[in-house]
């Protein structure tokens, strides 16, 4: 299987369960999540409201909450869960290979 468009990000064990990590790739900032049941997800790293790094926020269940204004997103789908956020987050396909988290950005 081709890995074109996929980038290697962090180690899978670098993220705790129900937690998030920031990963920068060029001008792109990603937030990479590990859910309580051990699945991995990736979204754009900046909140769609005031461009705050979501990886500085708190993961609770399937929700990432912006650390400044408590805007909430479902990190699995990117869905904005209500004011102050109204624009969904872009999400990216993720897979784990050889203990690394790979994200498809292209």
């Amino acid at each position: 299987m081709s890995n074109a468009g996929w980038i290697e990000t962090c180690r899978a064990d670098e993220i705790d369960e129900e937690d998030v990590l920031r990963f920068d790739h060029g001008s792109l900032t990603l937030a990479i999540y590990r859910s309580a049941d051990g699945k991995y997800y990736a979204t754009d790293g900046l909140c769609t409201h005031e461009q705050v790094h979501l990886a500085d926020g708190l993961v609770m269940g399937d929700i990432i909450e912006c650390p400044m204004h408590n805007g909430r997103f479902d990190y699995r789908t990117g869905e904005a869960k209500g004011a102050p956020v109204c624009v969904n987050l872009k999400t990216y396909p993720v897979k784990v290979e050889g203990g690394r988290v790979l994200v498809q950005i292209g």
């Binding site: 129900e18 409201h49 005031e50 790094h53 500085d56 708190l58 909450e65 400044m68």
Partner: protein, 412 residues
């Protein structure tokens, strides 16, 4: 116009949120949002921070644009001042004579900066910060090399000080009380913040009263009560804000450190609500003590809650007070009210970041405050906020230990 609708006076964060929350809750009648400024509702927190230092044309973010208002059927009356509330007739009367009747009325009138009351304080070189226009006027004066004197070591003053340093100004902060951030921020954190400012070259004069302000040959002089003088080019006074209660008081509504509301945000008139900076409400988490908050989150949350209760909801305001301040690369987050705490516990987060927990005599967590990089502080304070909300009594030794995750205490 807007016959039998919902009317909101004050188009800041709180009013704008309430207007939209009415729609989100399914209200299909008229919604009128009345604001004195000509700009659509905008976010004030960046005014002292990002807007001051941003390169290029300063811009504000709008929680409700004109287009969004039109699309949501919200009648946005800008540059309009409400002169009077006719409670008998259930109508507000604008300064230009227009009458708008209401079923329920929300007062989200905010607060205005307290003015210095010393001789010479009416100088054109004494500036205040509340509005976008105020921020632009200050920004214009903060040129590289300019000498800024900030009067008041509170949030606004310190944020402006940090922004002025970034713009190359020389900054002195004068505070009348014995230390900066007397209100709401515990002493050890205030000390940490003062040191960060000093590193950046800010000079502090604490315990220093202002006697007079005078001007000569393009220089402003601040005469201190102890006889010293400080020379500068411009003064920004951030000495607190007074709730905007005039309209409410004239309508005969109860006023007590802001418009007096109950824990459902109702004023002494059941058809009139108040929310945000302008009101004081009893808080269940703090023994029913009446508190008034000047904070973005509070404005947002109370706007939401007032809207639901205007539509017949019966929700109590019980959110943990929370506020933040960004200074340099650091952020200060505070959840809860620390003033009644008798025990204080520090957790060292590394990288110069500290978390402080403030507990009541019975061990209940009342407040938590943190200063450091956003990524170190924000989520810990958020978790502490949840501990406060549930009335948790976490063990002090666990709070002090950085390896003990707050999330685990929450689930305990």
């Amino acid at each position: 116009m807007a016959d039998g609708g919902m009317v909101i006076v004050g188009a800041g964060e709180c009013g704008a949120r309430a207007a939209q929350a009415l729609r989100e809750a399914g209200w299909s009648g008229a919604v009128t949002l009345i604001g004195e400024e000509s700009l659509p509702p905008y976010e004030r927190p960046p005014l002292s921070k990002a807007l001051m230092v941003a390169a290029g044309e300063p811009q504000v973010a709008h929680p409700l644009t004109r287009d969004a208002a039109a699309q949501k059927g919200i009648d946005l009356l800008l540059g309009a001042r409400v002169a009077e509330i006719d409670r008998e007739a259930h109508a507000v009367i604008l300064a230009d004579g227009r009458r708008i009747s209401y079923v329920k009325l929300l007062l989200a009138t905010g607060a205005r900066p307290r003015r210095l009351a010393v001789p010479g304080a009416d100088s054109r070189d004494v500036l205040y910060l509340r509005s976008f226009a105020d921020a632009l006027a200050i920004r214009e004066r903060l040129r590289a090399g300019a000498r800024l004197c900030v009067i008041g070591g509170g949030f606004i003053g310190l944020e402006v000080a940090a922004s002025a340093v970034a713009r190359g100004c020389r900054v002195t902060v004068v505070e009348v009380t014995p230390r900066i951030l007397m209100r709401g921020v515990p002493a050890p954190l205030a000390e940490l913040i003062a040191r960060r400012h000093e590193q950046a070259g800010v000079r502090f004069r604490v315990g220093a009263g202002i006697a007079r302000i005078s001007e000569s040959a393009g220089t402003v002089k601040i005469g201190l009560a102890d006889g010293d003088e400080i020379e500068c080019d411009v003064i920004v006074a951030g000495i607190g804000a007074a709730p905007e209660t005039l309209l409410a008081a004239r309508a005969g509504l109860a006023v007590e450190n802001g418009i007096r509301v109950d824990d459902r945000l109702r004023t002494s008139d059941p058809d009139i609500f108040a929310a945000g900076d302008c009101c004081s409400a009893p808080h269940a988490l703090y023994d029913g003590r009446r508190i008034r908050l000047e904070a973005w989150r509070n404005a947002h949350d109370q706007g939401n809650l007032a809207a639901r209760n205007m539509l017949g909801g019966d929700q109590r305001y019980e959110a943990v007070p929370w506020f933040w301040s960004d200074q340099y690369e650091m952020t200060l987050h505070v959840a809860g009210l620390a003033d009644q705490a008798t025990k204080h516990v520090k957790r060292d987060l590394g990288d110069g970041a500290e978390l402080h927990f403030h507990l009541a005599g019975d061990g209940r967590l009342l407040a938590a405050s943190g200063f450091g990089p956003l990524g170190k502080v924000a989520r810990e304070i958020r978790l502490a906020e949840m501990l406060i909300q549930k009335g948790a009594k976490p063990a002090p030794d666990q709070l002090a230990a950085p390896e003990v995750k707050l999330k685990s205490l929450l689930n305990a």
